[in-house]
Symmetry: C4
Subunit: 255 residues, 4 copies
């Protein structure tokens, strides 16, 4: 595999869908929120994305089955008060290298543009590095019109005090170049644990902006599951790092 491989499972026709990205990131806030939304609303998976820029590994699930590093597209048709169509992008990894990030983000936008998306939301966490009481939601956007929408929804506007690294930033930036409007919602989170409260906060604010209703009751449960998977990922990383440092020939060389 030497380029992005998008495997379409179901041919679906969508009407100017809203595109919502929530890949793993700080505090796994976005991922937690959208995984929950997809589950609760029973969205339908219609495409899978594989990339040579993902980490070169597999996970193992509770049954001993291997899971590839993957991004997945789900859709919802005529959902919410406004009867809008939605495309969700979720997954278990982001591209590792800078070029990989740009290549994959470009390929993802090529794909969703074919469905006629006119608006993109990207979700993430905003690391505070310290405990917080209530996760405030911050926003940034591709244009002033979206900024006004955010202000009306009482979203705090981020302002020249940082940036957005990774898919949540790049998908928004590359959308802007293509003339697609976009908003990034960021929930404050300490950043060093899986934050179900921040996920709930961002999900409630997203629901308000989209004029939809999502039951957030079981978010805590999901946070627990995610926590287990993360400790697994950390363990793998440590193993890989540790082995590479101690016996750096292990992975790479003959023995």
């Amino acid at each position: 595999m030497n380029k992005t491989d998008i495997n379409v499972i179901e041919e679906v026709s969508l009407n100017k869908p809203i595109f919502i990205e929530a890949l793993p990131g700080i505090g796994h806030v976005g991922k937690l929120a959208i995984d929950h939304l997809i589950d609760t609303l029973d969205a339908t998976k219609f495409a899978e994305v594989y990339s040579p820029y993902f980490p070169p590994q597999v996970f193992i699930d509770e049954d001993g089955l291997v899971e590839n590093m993957i991004n997945e597209f789900y859709y919802l048709k005529e959902f919410g008060e406004d009867k809008k169509d939605y495309i969700f992008l979720v997954g278990n990894s982001q591209a590792l290298s800078p070029e990989g990030q740009y290549i994959l983000s470009g390929d993802i936008l090529d794909f969703v543009e074919k469905y006629g998306i006119e608006m993109a939301y990207t979700l993430g966490g905003l690391a505070t590095g310290q405990p917080i009481e209530n996760s405030k939601i911050f926003g940034a956007a591709t244009d002033i019109e979206c900024i006004e929408t955010l202000k009306e929804a009482n979203v705090e506007i981020r302002s020249a005090d940082g940036g957005i690294v990774g898919a949540s930033g790049l998908l928004l930036g590359l959308s802007k170049i293509r003339g697609i409007m976009g908003i990034c919602l960021m929930a404050e989170t300490p950043g060093y644990f899986i934050d179900a409260e921040a996920a709930e906060a961002i999900l409630l604010k997203l629901s308000e902006l989209l004029n939809i209703t999502v039951d957030t009751e079981k978010l805590d449960e999901r946070a627990e599951e995610t926590k287990m998977m993360i400790s697994k990922a950390q363990q793998m990383e440590q193993e890989m790092m540790g082995k590479n440092q101690q016996n750096s020939d292990d992975l790479r060389y003959i023995g």
Copy 2:
């Protein structure tokens, strides 16, 4: 050389061969096991693989001859109780970069698929980080049917407590995408030395699963040889690292 170069030495026709991968990894368990199997059963090398993603170096053998970084394919025809055909993948290195791992694994599967493989085994070590008495064999697989097979053979099923990094993981994951069934066998090993006992344990379990017989008597001897080559590899790495840090211009710049 800017892409995978597979040099076919012998055109061979195989009947739904079983594909078995054992490249250098943790404790060199898999490599040790399959190098021994190939040697003992007199399997035939039929193709060589070179990759720009291997470490940029050569080894020197006991006669002063240079050895390229390489992966090699061997076959066995109508072997064992079940008269099955086999393809083995062994070698002295894995790709260094994430992209290299994906590209090479994809090219390897493209190649073996042409021979009609329907089942893949990947072998590796599972680092315990501490001494062990008897190396237990763990397994993961692409599907429930294979998991059942593993359970019947008293293989411990790994479960949501980690993953598989490198070729053993990726070849399994990418096989799953292509609809090829696969099993990864992992032998417990301290991880910080060449582990002939773990190699024997994995070879015995593999033999049971494949319904074949392999003499494991000379595995210790092979472990000794491998140990020497590894200390060579480590020495090279340290030289390379040391030089790069102290006189980082040495390799790269003019002088």
Copy 3:
């Protein structure tokens, strides 16, 4: 996006323009100088450059709007005493990887060569690592004729005591291969802060060489703004690094 993307905003016809590069670098001396020149002289942006080798992120401006990593081309027609045409290259980033630097520099030269450039200036800082009173201007060039020009303008010639890393060096070196004459001006700067005085010194020397007049009054103000953006960039970097080290799975893995 998997290659350099140059978006031409205005088709413009230029007469043997002088090409001046000033991307972010040591002390942001060159960037500060040319951003000021473009602003003061009201140069016109005519093309934007995006690259998969830029950092995978966006900045956020004071209104909450996202800004892509970008390089930009500006032009001036029949400017100065000599009524010359100019192309300026400015931006908020350079390519991250060595290959990215070569690929992007080559693509940039391909682009400006179409406008018939015959002369290239690249601007940078020369880090002293300690406070300096007056920023002396040093020069290097592609040929002896340019060196003579520099000497006549009392530019100190750099001599076998170092080199030029990044776009300022590479654009000059690759120009030389293409038969385009070029000069690099480097202003002494401590290197650890945004240096408006060094920017003024380089701008005055450049003006003298080009026989143009530029008002340098508001350079201090611009230095302040730049300082804010840099501290933003540093903060992002630290966030990214910190997160990667503490919770290295955050960006890359599932949770």
Copy 4:
């Protein structure tokens, strides 16, 4: 520039030339030896090699002129007792990344194969890490015939105690795959300074093997010059590293 660029300066017809590589490496032993040989014997440059995998920078010479990172081909016709033709590969850098090493080495062999080379020599240093009295010459080769030649010339055969990293190793290994015979000569050197004595030792042994005569009188002088260029290169590296660590946004980000 996104791939190897070989600029042929003179079309030359050669008769089964011997190919000799000596790029910057440990102790700059090989480079020093062949730069001297080229100079003394007045070999003719006939091609220049540029690569996007070289360090992204230029050097500045004593006149203030920029020098690209480069590899260069020289030839000698009907030279020595045996009236043989020669191609020399020298330069101021090697590729930085593993892939770059493989790609560049492959392109270099493609080029010299067009001239009908049948034999390749690569030269390097063998770091001892401590002072040595007389630099012993070690050898490795692609085949037993060459090993016998080395033994007859009293070259110590390296044996399963290490490998060869970088161009000297890779060009030999890739030659072997192409059916080109090759020898690597390695001179013992402490490794932490420019070693004129090791260069002399390797040059004398090479002369013996090739049945040619080379005056080694001025090697010390050349070592001094090389020493100055290296300290320049180290200084650049340190500047680059230092800046990147202290103000890591300098090179990459806006300011």
